[in-house]
Symmetry: C2
Subunit: 350 residues, 2 copies
Amino acid sequence: VKNYPGLKVALVGATGMVGREFLPLLEKTKLPIGSFYPFSSGTRRQTILFRGKKLPAPGVDFKTLASCELVFFASADEVSKKFAPRLARAGVWVIDDSSAFRLDRNVPIVIPEVNGDRIRPSHRILAGPNCTITGLAVAGALLHRKIGVKEVRLASYQAVSGAGKDALLEFFSQLGAVSASLKKDFSIAPALPKLASRALPRQIALNVIPQVGGFDREGNCGEENKVASELRKIWAAPGLKISSTTVRVPVVRGHSLAVWLTLSKAKPLSAIRAILNRTPGVSVKGGMDYPTPLDCAGKGGVSVGRLRLGATSKEICLWIVSDNLLKGAALNSLQTAEYLWRRGWLKARP
Amino acid sequence: VKNYPGLKVALVGATGMVGREFLPLLEKTKLPIGSFYPFSSGTRRQTILFRGKKLPAPGVDFKTLASCELVFFASADEVSKKFAPRLARAGVWVIDDSSAFRLDRNVPIVIPEVNGDRIRPSHRILAGPNCTITGLAVAGALLHRKIGVKEVRLASYQAVSGAGKDALLEFFSQLGAVSASLKKDFSIAPALPKLASRALPRQIALNVIPQVGGFDREGNCGEENKVASELRKIWAAPGLKISSTTVRVPVVRGHSLAVWLTLSKAKPLSAIRAILNRTPGVSVKGGMDYPTPLDCAGKGGVSVGRLRLGATSKEICLWIVSDNLLKGAALNSLQTAEYLWRRGWLKARP
């Protein structure tokens, strides 16, 4: 859709896992998109569907990006690193889903309902958070502001879509092989097929993998380090103590977190629940109900359940689920753009 | 196999998930089993294979049980409750895999390499631990003895076989449906089929379920309460602070635990690792390697990896995997029987 009055918007990585989630959101947004330029970060010729029309998604063309008011990046770090700084210098708003700029001092990690007030009109590059920490960053934001969070421990149950297309297709192939094997041996003690893995470090079908990203010297993997440094930055809590074990599970979409929070003050659960109920972007399940990734797949917000007291004083437990491709990526980026628009900082050029 | 010199041994629940794991172990054990009586806890006529022979596994016959020196229970709590006390009064050793007697003051929860010394020759009923806590009870035992464990936090990744036959067959049916659906729609954004669940509280295929057992008033589920009370009893640590979130994952066998331990004293990781390496029943993975449930399925011991420092002082993180049907059930029971035999407390009657 091109050359109508309104914003000129580009999406880099339009044919990827996150990119394709953007398209229906961009069709529904109240942002006045006049022209839309989808780009593929790869070189293969691809097309996408937008507002009922087939659009080509060619390789990135910097001139077109620079002519836009807003560019979303939903591709690899390298692509963002290559183009975003030049676009920023040209005055283009860049909302980046990669991790390329998240720890840059001059770039805020933005979750609009949590820290939209961190954006300055002089900013041009805004980073979206890692999809794993998004759920806690949203769910714990008001608790942190009202009471204070001192310590965080979390174990993740991360969907395969978070590892990208190749990992997801590998998972589906493995599921096919497992199912074929079960057809021959449908018993309570079937042979468990051992299947090749290339995109993920181990077989994911019928398994869980306690590794997301590479390991550092201390034995933490990349995702665990992102979770810690990004949460500290998003909450502006440099002294926050945080320890995590990040685990890939055989789920298509929806990241779940088992979380322990140690608060600055002891509070009754009813007070905690009241704060959670008022937290923007969060829906709280009570009683016997709780969210699962399958319930939350394709849905926008962050869902919290299993609120309980922990084993030590001032400590609570939470179970948090959010769709890693939506609130963890595409939706959050779009909400950031809508925030810029509402503030009057994102405008169509004359 | 009947009427040979040696021990008379019965197995109640021989056709169940755990029961069928007992059979190859009983074939290989050094216990001098003269006669073996498998029973089914159900009423359906079933047979089992033992030492190459097809044996009937009829419904439980108390007289036959009472004529044995040793009876293993691998069935529901009610079955153990009905028969075990009468067998104990008749002098029969009962090794019970159900949770019926675990919190009974007169019954130890036995993991031989951890607390075999808790068994008195006057005991007759010995309980095996819950399969979820077994991994940590074994892996942390020497750390607790040498340094002291003050606080435990754990998130579990529990295999479907732990929920029994019906749950496992439900999982396999769901996998078949998922695979059929993927055949029609093999893309990076396939429809995620929503499938009926009866044995488990939610669909398990392509999902995780943060509920194992029913909920109490505080919001803890049954498994979380078992984990806490059983670990305190096994380690003889009544003041241990423990908080857990137990989660079912789409894995066939092998329970995994993401664990945080707060110790009584700060120790360097090298010292912790040295203690883990000396802990009976534990194999420690180092460097970039870690266990997954698929690696550990069908294997006997407890496997530990991802040893790291936690976020607060005196705190460490561990990833622990063990086969819930073996060390978490059948194997541990057999090891308990072998321990009794070595101590000379389990003897063939004249």
